[in-house]
């Protein structure tokens, strides 16, 4: 990460004042309230929380305001802020089977236990610009209420397949081992799946989307089905050693995607379905699905499948997925490289002089 940059003090101060004025825009237009961003820009807030690795809708909304909607910049702000926070506890794993469902769909079973729950989605809109939203009087939006509450039993599709022995079992590597944490320890390659999933969970959505897409187009076949996508709120629990039991410290909204992929089996493993897993804070279906595609794709070597495509290369994917790192390295090119460039200029001029001298010599020989 490139952060501290030195330069002309006065110019930088003026630049900050200018950016503040630009952020405010036309003073005749009411200023954005952070609460408005939190409530009305939920997908932007979700992305900043997921890739900023900090679940706090208010801070994410503030970062979006400060960054004038530049989400990668907002993610950087949140990442920087989270480093100042004290860590009190490590939560127990969230249990998505006990999620308060907002949306839950499966492309594999039409009539699954608990039913399909469409929830709020853009999938069936016609992508026509709604000019009514441009005016002040867009009218009140009132959601239709279901006649009956949702089925309290909402088993995950993976649990159903698992019960029939048709899906690979998902076992933790070693439950006594701490879970990898990239915010504390550097990336290690080759790494375990816990590290990979954390990397992908905070990875740039666009990068994952493109990689996932590449696997669908033939650069590493994954043959996936959307086993289940569920979105809703789950409880976060911590265990205080002094208490001896878990306490609920609040709810978070997440989107989870389990892709089910065909696997023809190997000498040790029977033919079965395998999984790709995606999880993101807030409403982030595209991100969760792309993550699940890439997760499964990165398991190609482990499952003895053909490898060699970009989305199957763990080092390539995990080293380039972080948009704060990527943005820093790309944008550091803006910083002064005057001395570096002087040396290259000097070198090119010398080479050029040698080249011209040789050319003149050759021309003379040819003329003779």
């Amino acid at each position: 990460m490139y952060v501290a940059v030195k330069g002309g003090e006065q110019a930088i101060e003026n630049s900050h004042r200018l950016i503040a004025a630009e952020r405010r825009g036309d003073p005749a237009v009411p200023e954005l309230d952070v609460r408005q961003i939190r409530e009305q820009m939920r997908h932007a807030v979700a992305r900043v929380m997921a890739e900023g690795s900090l679940y706090d809708p208010d801070l994410a909304a503030l970062a979006i305001k400060q960054a004038q909607g530049d989400l990668v910049e907002a993610i950087f702000l949140v990442r920087a802020y989270r480093t100042t926070l004290r860590r009190f506890a490590v939560s127990r794993p969230i249990d998505s089977a006990r999620m308060a469902i907002g949306r839950r769909i499966s492309a594999t079973f039409k009539d699954l236990p608990g039913g399909q729950v469409l929830g709020g989605t853009y999938d069936y809109t016609h992508r026509l610009l709604d000019h009514e939203l441009a005016g002040d009087g867009a009218g009140e939006a009132v959601a239709a209420e279901a006649a009956a509450p949702l089925d309290p039993e909402m088993p995950r599709v993976s649990d159903i397949l698992d019960a029939q022995g048709l899906l690979e079992a998902e076992m933790p590597d070693d439950e006594s081992d701490p879970v990898a944490d990239l915010t504390r320890d550097p990336l290690r390659l080759p790494g375990r799946r816990d590290q990979r999933l954390q990397n992908l969970a905070r990875a740039d959505e666009g990068f994952l989307l493109a990689l996932g897409y590449s696997t669908q187009r033939g650069y590493g076949r994954t043959h996936p089905f959307a086993g289940e996508i569920r979105q809703g709120t789950v409880a976060v629990e911590i265990e205080a050693p002094e208490l001896g039991f878990a306490i609920d410290i609040g709810d978070i909204e997440v989107t989870e995607c389990e892709l089910v992929n065909q696997f023809k089996g190997s000498t040790e493993q029977p033919p079965q379905f395998t999984r790709g897993y995606g999880l993101a804070f807030g409403r982030a279906e595209r991100k969760a699905m792309a993550m699940a595609l890439v997760d499964r794709s990165l398991r190609a070597a482990e499952l003895g499948e053909e490898t060699g495509h970009p989305a199957q290369d763990e080092e390539f994917v995990l080293s380039h997925s972080d948009n704060v790192e990527a943005s820093g390295f790309v944008q550091h090119l803006k910083l002064p490289h005057y001395i570096d460039f002087q040396s290259e200029l000097h070198l090119v001029r010398r080479l050029r002089a040698d080249f011209d001298a040789r050319r003149t010599g050759t021309d003379r020989e040819a003329a003779e």
Partner: protein, 201 residues
């Protein structure tokens, strides 16, 4: 989460009076010590902690230890354990090799330096810092330290650190960039001994 602890019959002794300011002062002192290996640096605002933790050592632990830094204690008195757990949230490791900070309160019986985490070639920075309490500086085997941060030579001696310790420290320095770092404490002072520094001659 803390309410039941505050009302527990034997609440741990007080930590920093002003946690942010005090921790910054202590951090500054450690930084100063690390920048001048072998030089004695006073540690301000060290809290009175239960034995065997001295004030300076307790202050450094309160400033640096947290949930991510497992502690290993040579002598795990319950009061000291409770104090550190309460104020830092740091887990206590039974195995010295698992510790980020190893707390040695009896230098004469400390485990060999190579029983602590020395980092690995890719990540030498994950090595342990060994905190060693000594009765005083100036007495004990005189050594002449050299290395980064020392212009020529830095004379140093700590009570209770004899030939055996310094031989082990030479071996530790020989493993650079791997190896442990040490902080030596009296009740109110700290001396840093980074792995890059050792006795010469």
């Amino acid at each position: 989460m803390t309410s039941h602890l505050a009302t527990a019959p034997r609440a741990p002794a007080a930590g920093f009076t002003d946690p942010v300011r005090d921790a910054q002062e202590v951090f500054r002192a450690v930084l100063q010590a690390q920048s001048h290996p072998g030089r004695r640096v006073r540690v301000p605002s060290g809290p009175a902690a239960p034995a065997p933790l001295g004030r300076a050592m307790a202050g450094v632990l309160l400033a640096l230890a947290d949930l991510d830094t497992p502690l290993w204690l040579q002598r795990g008195e319950e009061a000291a354990l409770a104090y550190l757990r309460f104020h830092t949230g740091a887990p206590v490791a039974a195995d010295p090799a698992a510790a980020a900070f190893a707390i040695v309160t009896e230098a004469s019986t400390m485990p060999p330096l190579d029983s602590f985490r020395a980092g690995d070639a890719d990540y030498p920075e994950v090595a342990a810092t060994v905190l060693i309490a000594v009765a005083g500086f100036g007495q004990g085997q005189q050594v002449s330290l050299a290395g980064p941060g020392i212009e020529r030579r830095q004379g140093f001696a700590a009570d209770g650190l004899g030939a055996e310790f310094w031989a082990a420290w030479r071996a530790n320095r020989g493993r650079f960039p791997l190896g442990v770092d040490a902080l030596l404490f009296t009740d109110d002072e700290v001396v840093a001994l980074p792995r890059s520094v050792g006795p010469e001659g």
